[in-house]
Amino acid sequence: MIRDAAGRLGFAPSLAIVISAAVIVALVSITSGAYPLSVADILSVITSREASDPVASMVLLEVRMPRLLLGFLVGAVLAVSGALLQGLFRNPLADPGLIGVSAGASLAAIAVIVLGNTWLGGWLAMTGEWALPIAAFFGGSCTVLLAWRIANRFGQTSVATLLLAGIAINAVAGAATGLLTFYANDEELRSLTFWTMGSLGHAGWDDLLVGAPFMLLALFVAPWLARPLDAFLLGESVVGHLGYRTDTVKKAAILVVGLGVGAAVAVSGLIGFVGLVVPHLVRQLLGASHRVVLPLSALVGGTLLVAADSLARVVVAPAELPIGLMMALIGGPFFLALLLRTKVI
């Protein structure tokens, strides 16, 4: 019995499929790259403390491992955030970028890149090598709070106002980013471009230390919202009729997205498409119940991002393509194909 009564792939079989895919992708990702590792190399590094090949050990433990974990976490958080917002807005087009969090985070990061030597010298001196991720995290959180305050003016959270505020904040942050780009010199422009196209290229254990707590928190809180989010699909008033505290649910969801996406952008730059495409794909195959959509979006999102990252490392080796670019290249056509095949969104 692979398919359930509704003709969809059941939860357990799909979980098994996705987890196997995740393991295969993780293996491919950890072995491929500018310095190829074999499975035997990996086993020898893991089993014996004094590894035969110090380079293999270094590549595995200091480069590939943190990158794999970070890629998986970022993909999972972006996909879950997309699913949360799509449920909250009852709109399959909602995306973590929509409420301004990505724009705010990247504006702050770009400000650090461009103004780090002049106006923001104090910030650099204070935060050292973590200047960029911490600034991005604060930028993301502040924009979410701003959109939040605007949407909450009358004691209740207006989802429509939140959306409109997000659009306005995106526009302003985009303009400010454009201004900074205009003032950037060649070298700054290069690292800035990499930021806006997203990259896991610098991923290390310190990035994980900064981002992982927030991202893990977001991933573990999200499943608690599954039942009330199902009620949201029937309309906001129904949520209250069914006995959920509508405003608390909204606040929790937006907070989770703000924390998670803020942390994700802080460590990896702007990576689009995961948040939009993954929940959509999961819903098409497995239905819209959030008890299925949230966990599977996390797994599929993580796997997809790690796969895209492996490809990005290989296609133009020894150089790397930005992963945001890679995601759009894979995700765009795939999404279009999906749209052409399906009737009900």
Binding site: A5, A6, G7, R90, P92, R227, D230, A231, L233, L234, G235, S237, V238, G240, H241, L242, G243, Y244, R245, R283, Q284, G287, A288, S289, V344, I345
Partner: protein
Amino acid sequence: MVLSVNSVSVSLGRSRIVNDIDCYLRAGELLMLLGPNGAGKSTLLKAISGDLPYVGSVRFAGRELGQWRPEWLARQRAVMPQRVEVNFPLTVEEVVRLGRPKTASVGSDPVVDQLMSELDIGHLRHRLVPALSGGEQQRLQLARVLAQIIDSPGDRLLLLDECTSALDPAHQQMVLELVHRLAKNQGIAVLAVVHDLNLAAQFADRLLVMKAGCLVHEGSAREVLTPDLLEAVYGFTARVIELDEGYPMVVPRRGGLPNAYLAPGNPSCRQAS
């Protein structure tokens, strides 16, 4: 008294939509709310279900609405809105189960099966909701709403806003017979907004008539559904026939509309407020 509403008024923006309404509802009573479009029926129902801020007092089972914990209230009181639009691929069974308590969410649920077959949606169980017809969706929503309170102990209240508007005559009859039976056998108090006067005559214990935000008449079908009153409230002329079945039937007259909106006896308390 399951529900008592005391001097409730609702304003949207500057206009007062519901004006100083008093009404009550006993256990097992089926009360139907009539009135022309825009009379404030749905708005009153929304105030009673806690969706809209109101002035006055709404008490359910003796306690003010705002003092109920939402999760407890949901087990005792269910609301069926006029429209529920589902754009996401949920199945019929998933939607009905949304109404069930958290503890009943795993395995098969006899209450859900029973309600789905009584409302003639059992065969649609695994279909996706956006692909259903309007009438099927309406029966589905009623099943979800009933699943919420049908096996709860204590006082129960069912608020229905035009729960038969998209149904064919046979299903209208089926739905209201089910609601009527639940009221009588289980003691559920029902407040339903309806437009079909003949369905109201057939099933209601008591009728309330609203016009321009005010409660203008209250009584049994025989007291309320008279030619004079219909003309004063709706502005159309009709014949009322007493049927052997024991309830009246309203037959509108062709061409009986001209004096509709010029009727002199229109109570217009909305302007007075």
